[in-house]
Every structure is written in C-alpha cells, then in structure tokens.
Subunit: 501 residues, 2 copies
C-alpha cells in the first residue's frame, strides 16, 4: 500500500485563510481535485484526521466534514480499523475531461477546452533538432577524449579546495574571468598571430552560444544572415532559432564566393569558417580573404569568423585569420575549447572590436549572466601552466597519424566508389560519393552497423547538393578507424551497385 | 628595441600561392599594410631575409626586392651592421585614413568610409546593462558563500579523477545529465510537493537562461510577455533582449492582479514569482493562484513560474506551487541552484509539461548545446549524497537568524524614516522610504559608503513607483548587517531631512 508523507498531503490541501468559502468546503474541493488528477492515487491511505489537523493547524471538525462528504460521493473508502483510502474506482469515468473541470471549480460547462485553445498553445515556430552526437567512428567534432590529461585537470580542480572565495562561488562578470581572458588573449597573440588584447575577449559557453550572441548584439529579428553553403549545422540552427533569415553563399576552391554588394545590402552578418571550411575542408585563400574584408567594409556587414579547429594544421603555412587582416573593425572572431580541450567543458570565446565589447557583454548578461566560475578558473590555470600548448602539440601529431590511418584504410578499400581529398587541417574529411548515390541512405545503413557519419547533403541550405559523408577521425584510434572503414565501404559499395543496377 | 618572433611576422606576410600577383609585390603590400596599421610598430626590427625566407619557404630574392622598395619609399630603415627596422616616421601622416586605404589595395579613392556606413554599423538595439553585483551588504541574490560546504564539493570533484570517460568529457544531451534530472525530480516531488518526473526536467544555465529559453520556445519576436510590476530585473532584461514586448501587471497584497481576458489575448507568456514576489515579498494567495491558473487556461497564456528562493520559508504553511495546482499543462516552473548552492555554479532547471519537452530541448540545443558536464555530475552527487537537503536546512536556520539581525538593527535605527515589513520567506527585505525620498539618490550615497542596495523604483516598468530599497541579508554575518544598517540609516536620515527642509 502506497503511503505519502502527511506533510505533503497537508501542503497540497492548505486552505486559503482569505477565502470566503468555509474551510470544510475548501478541503473537500482540494481533496477531490487531487483525487481526480490522480495526484492522490487510487488506493492511497490518507493520514489520520488528527495528523492532518495538526499539519494544517486547524481543528478536526472541517476535515471530518470534508472526508465524510467525499466518502458519501464515493471518492474515499473507509476500512474499519485501518483508516481512509482513495477509492479504487472513482465516480467519474471521464478522467481526462474532469481534470480540467476540477480546476474551473467543478462547473461542467467550463470543462472542455475552448475552441481555438489548442491553436493558440501550438508552439509558434519549429526549432530544428539535431540527433545527439555519439562518441564512435566517424562522428565528427570529437577530439581524442582518452588522450586528454584529465589527471592534470583533476589536480587543478583539487587546488581549488583551499581557494574557495566569493570570486569562485559568487556572481562573476558577464565578460568572463579576467585571468582566463588574459590567457586567451596571450595565446591568440602568440600562437595565432591575432591582434587583440584581453579587453576584447569575452568568455562564452562554446561556439554555439557565440552565434546566438552575435545575432542578439548585432541584428534584429527578420534581418538576414549570410552563411556558407554547405555549412555548419550548429550555426544554421542557432541563426534559424534566432528568428533571422538564412541566405546561402556558395563555396569554390578558394573558399566562400564573396557576395555582390546587393546581397550585402540585405544582410547584417556573414558567417564563415575560413581556416577550414566546414564541411568541405577548403582553406580560404589570402586573396579571397582580402576581397571578403573589402566587401564587408563597403557593405557594412559584420563578419563572424568561426575558427573551430584552426589549431590542427598539417601542411603549409598557417594563413592569417580574417580578424588579424581586418583594420576596419568588421570581424567577430569565435574560438572554442571543445576541440582543443573537451566538449563537455562548454567553454569558448569571442574576440570583438573594442567598440562592440559593451553590447556583447550586455547580450551575454541577458542570456545567462556569465559562464561557470570553476571551469574558468581551471581552464586559465591549464593554459598558464603550459599544459594547453603541450596538449595541442601532442594532439596535432596524434591527429595527423589518425588522418594517415584513415586515408590508408580508404585507399585499401578503393574498390568502392568514394573519393577523399587529403585535408590541410582539422579533424574530419569529406568522402564524396558517386553521383546519384543517396548519402542519407548510406548514413542510415552505416548507423545500423554502429558507424556515425553526417550526410554531406544535410549540410546544405540550397537545392544544389553534393552527395558525400563527413567523417571525423581525430577522436578514434587507428584500429577503430580501419575496422569502421571496412564496414563503411561495404555499405557504400552496396549503394553504388544498387544505383548502377 | 622590441622584437617579434620571426614566425609571427612570417605568418602575417604569408603570400597567396594562388594569386596572380608576383611574390615580391604581395610581400611588399603585406609589409606596408602591417606597418601602416602599426601591427609592425615603428622601430621594430625585422628578422633577417634569410630567416624570413626559411619561415616562408620561399627564396630570398622576392623578400630582398620587397624590402628594397619599402626602404626606398621610407617605410623601412637600414642601420648598417644591425639589420632592418620599421621607420620611426612614416611617409603617411594621415594614419587613420590610410588604414582603410591599405585594405582596399592602396586605391586612394576607396579609403574613406562611405556615407551611411557608420549608421549601418550602429548596434541595432540597446540591451539593458545591469551593474555587476558585488558581494557586500545588502546586495541581494547572494547566499552565505562562506557557509557553503566547499570541502565536500571539492571531494566530489576529486572523485571524478578516476571516472573520466566520454560521458564526462564528450558532448552531453541538451536536456541535461540524466542522474541530475532524476535527483531534481525527486527533490521537487518530495520537498516541494510538485508533480513531475525526470522526463519533464531540463537542466539550464541558471534561471536567467530559462527566461530566454521560454521566449525562444513559446513566443515569436513582437509577441508580448506580461510581467509583475515591480519585478525582477533579470527577467525584464532577458525578455527585453529577446525582442518581445513587456506588459506590466500590478501587484496587491494577494500577489499579481490577474489580467483581464483582453490582456490575455495580447500576450504569450506571463512571468510571476508567486512564492515570494520579487521584490515586494508578497506570497500569492491560494485563491489568487487558482484564479490565475483559470485565466491562463482560458486565455491560452503560458505561465512562467520563477521559484527562485522558495526553499527559505520562515513562517506559515508552504503554499503549493502553481505547477502543482495546474492540471492543464499551462505552467513552466523555473528553479535555480544559485541561491541554494552558489551563483558561480550557473545551474538551474525548468520543469515543463510533457508535450513541451521537445521544443524546449531544441531551444536549449540552439542556445549553447548543453550545460557543462562536470558541474552536472557533482551537483547530482551532492544531492544524492544528502548534502543538498542538509545544507538547505542549515541555511534556513542561519538566514532566519540573519533576518532577525536585520530587523533588530532596523528597529534600533527607528529614528530615521523607513519601514521594513517582516517577510515570510526569502533572502531579502524591502525598506520603504518616506514619500518623496529619492531611492536612487539614497542608493548612490550608500554605495559610496560601501553598501549595495537596489532602489525599489528601478524595478518598475510602469510610471507608478514606490520609493524603497531592496536589502539582501542572507549572505552577510549579523555583525556586517548591523554595521551596514547604521551607515545606511544615516544616509536615509539625511535624505529624509533634506526632503522636509
């Protein structure tokens, strides 16, 4: 027999002292309401009237009255010598309808939902959902989690024990924890050749938040945002859910094709991944970078530069970021710790022109006040103690090995129809499938064999789509990569044959 | 003499292999651009041509060419036997204008900003900024940070060391970490008498994020949100920045005055703090709760119930939350760990009707993917190990003592004109000032004495404002409270006298 603490029942029945209705009537209605809603479930034993009276700080008389009436109506049952129970078979059969009735005070006429009610309550706009990323080949976006020096991280967490103070536990600044912003600015200046100081750095909850922040700070609902097409689904989702219009921008071998001035006049923001275009892996040429900056300057469009995995470059000279080439204050630079540390950390940063700091900080404040302090403390120490640079160097070598393993495994399976261009940077490759092969169907079949891929066609906004698969390699051991590639090539071969047949 | 690592200079100069322009011309332009922009500062020594050639993986010839030309034009200077330097006096005097010129490839005509450029770049909407909360009497919102069992928290952090896995480090689910959602649901059911299961609980980055999420999930830009007036500035900021209209709802002694159906027809969401109205401290009566739910049901408006400090109730029977009285799926319940644990954690939760889970999760995903995993792990363990309930019980006793200290200190200073009603719950009181006393001026003067207060008039949206001060007491020791109250009463007395004079 289920029992519920008497204090809980008392709190659910608490009469309203200011009400004109007599106590016994109020108690009767509350009890009936909770029985009808099954909050007090059939078969549940009520506390004794003495206990209820004490919990509610009222006399027993109104409680006895209410219970008698509910027994008479069949809502409660008495078992002699063992107390009062909620009836197993309630007088009402129309349970669902009467839940609403109970609320409107028992009037039968108000019980049914008004016409138009459901329509008003319909969720006004659909937000795109993305399936959860599983940590298995070839899910992209995952770094080598098993290679992360978590023991070091834990030691830094332990050091905090003696340093608990109001800076660590209290409200922080929306702009971010100053030592972390300093560490980021100095890392970006030294390692990435950027031109920024700590005052321009704002700590955010990963790159995903940066996209929404940029819209809140720089655009208004109904404004347009230009995006690389194909492009990063996370950015597409963020912009889409922020009530701005999405305008696709095509890509060629030099990066995104700079829009004409007419398109610039329609848009507020242009989103781009110049270091390693997601998903195609194109590095934007320097000439294109200058052309883009020139266009942004003239058209008044803000550039949102997402440098999500620029740390991992395997060949050639690293090109300067758009931010470092920009002398007009047009570029907002977005970086993330999800790839170089670990995704569960949910920390990233943006570097904004000095005159935009205030509005971005206000936007961050309106979003979620600020990022968690413990995470910011530990990340700052991890960078300042040199673990960060060391980890990146180690991972660059490791990821290059894993890239080679993937390319080799792909070559070994050359009998099936796909083509992988060796990328210059990053943590994923694109396998192009033969024309007419349905990449979504391949991805679905691969998933059944325990292999995650992103169909290239799903990354497009526009109608012209290339069939292919986005394959992440950084997170997986060569052995896992080889075994997954074998299975994947079987699936691709089956689909390519089916197409030819 | 400043020196810059040669690799940095090389990366800034990196020529574009795909460009039709000869190498020496490209190098010349990059160098000139960086000199004009002061990225290569006057007096800076350049690396030797040999080092540059090696860093850029090109021959020395084009480098020598470029440098000779820049010397000839006066951008660089040679000191015999000690290398090449950026000239201290550049040929251009019009430095600001030429920064833009450099970008457009040196054409003088394109150098000046187009008319209308600045206008387009103006930040489109102002986001309200709120001064940062300092941890000192009587700043509201702070729990007793020095009483938080951080040693226990640190031990739980340490336990993670052996448990590093892809769940902790990788991407998590936008809905939140399941064991934490379970712990929250069970806490809410047992301790707060709520009706919910874990599937309805979504973990968010504090209550602040919950407000924005509700707008993204349930409203569209231009829709209206009804808010208690006076009300919580954090919610006002979140709604305002989300591009919805704010409609004030007045308060009486029973809580917010339920709007008429006409107003309901104009709004999407109604925001309320029924357990302890912020800032006035009114507890919404049960009759008013029923009336509000009935209205919400009929008008189709969603209720956003912010239960920010309902854990700390000092007298009377706790009233059931709106969520627990609602049988129509109209209530979104918001809770936070900022008050019962610590603000720097940035964790909170929302409980939504089952049919809204999907859209809220998609909204959370679009905002920032999910909350940090380590924080969620430790919070779940802290609750499940019983530390959470223990800490709340301890704090309830402590805060009551601190409330008494504040009331006593206020009585001791009764010679000055202010009136504090004893609150039934929460972590702050409101001190009403005499009519005509300017609470903003009092707050400013108090701040000069190291005392933080929120002027009551600043919490209003509408024009009818009561003069008063919001005083937080939970975070401060009785001795601090007494000393701050003495200083504050001096300030208030001065302003009251000034008014009478």
């Amino acid at each position: 027999m289920r029992r519920v603490p008497s204090s809980l029942i008392a709190s659910a029945l608490a009469p309203d002292p200011s009400s004109a209705e007599p106590l016994h009537k109020q108690l009767y209605e509350r009890l009936r309401e909770h029985i009808l809603s099954r909050r007090l479930a059939p078969g549940l034993q009520l506390p004794s009237t003495r206990v209820l009276a004490s919990d509610l700080v009222i006399s027993r008389t109104p409680i006895l009255h209410a219970i008698e009436q509910l027994k008479a109506e069949g809502y409660l049952e008495a078992c002699i010598g063992s107390g009062t129970y909620v009836a197993r078979f309630l007088p009402e059969q129309r349970m669902v309808a009467t839940q609403a009735v109970a609320l409107t005070g028992g009037s039968q006429s108000g019980g049914h939902r008004q016409p138009g009610f459901e329509a008003r309550r319909v969720v006004p706009h659909k937000i795109r959902t993305i399936p959860r990323a599983a940590y298995r080949p070839f899910q992209s976006g995952f770094p080598a989690l098993d290679e992360f020096p978590f023991v070091t991280w834990s030691k830094l967490l332990q050091h905090l024990q003696t340093r608990a103070n109001s800076t660590l536990l209290g409200y922080g600044s929306p702009v971010g924890y100053l030592p972390l912003r300093r560490a980021i600015a100095s890392y970006l200046t030294i390692a990435r050749g950027m031109r920024c100081d700590e005052d321009q750095v704002i700590v955010v909850s990963g790159a995903q938040q940066a996209f929404g922040l940029a819209v809140r700070a720089l655009a208004e609902p109904g404004d347009s945002v230009l995006l690389e097409d194909p492009g990063y689904f996370g950015a597409q989702t963020a912009f889409d859910a922020s009530s701005v219009k999405l305008l696709p921008v095509p890509i060629d071998q030099d990066g995104l094709i700079v829009p004409d001035m007419h398109e610039g006049a329609r848009a507020r923001i242009l989103y781009t991944t110049p270091a390693n275009q997601f998903p195609l892996g194109v590095t934007m040429s320097v000439a294109r970078r200058r052309q883009l900056l020139n266009w942004a300057h003239k058209s008044g469009v803000w550039i949102l530069e997402d440098d999500y995995d620029g740390e991992f470059r395997y060949s050639g000279c690293p090109l300067p970021s758009l931010q470092s080439l920009d002398f007009t204050g047009s570029v907002i630079y977005v970086g993330t710790f999800s790839k170089v540390l670990f995704p569960g950390l949910r920390l990233g940063y943006i570097v904004v022109p000095a005159h935009l700091v205030e509005v971005f900080v206000a936007a961050k404040r309106s979003f979620d006040y600020h990022c968690p302090m413990i995470e910011q403390f530990v990340t700052a120490e991890f960078i300042n103690d040199g673990h960060f640079a060391r980890h990146i160097r180690r991972m660059r070598t490791l990821y290059l090995e894993r890239l080679e393993a993937l390319l080799e495994a792909a070559r070994a399976e050359m009998n099936c129809e796909f083509e992988i261009r060796r990328p210059d940077a990053g943590m994923h490759v694109v396998a192009r499938l033969g024309q007419g092969v349905d990449d979504q169907a391949v991805a679905t079949d691969a998933a059944h064999l325990g292999i995650s891929t992103i169909p290239l066609s799903s990354c497009y906004l526009g109608p012209d789509r290339i069939s292919g698969l986005v394959l992440g390699f950084a997170g997986y051991k060569p052995q896992q990569i080889r075994s997954a590639m074998q299975k994947l090539s079987t699936v691709i071969a089956a689909h390519s044959c089916a197409r030819r047949a």
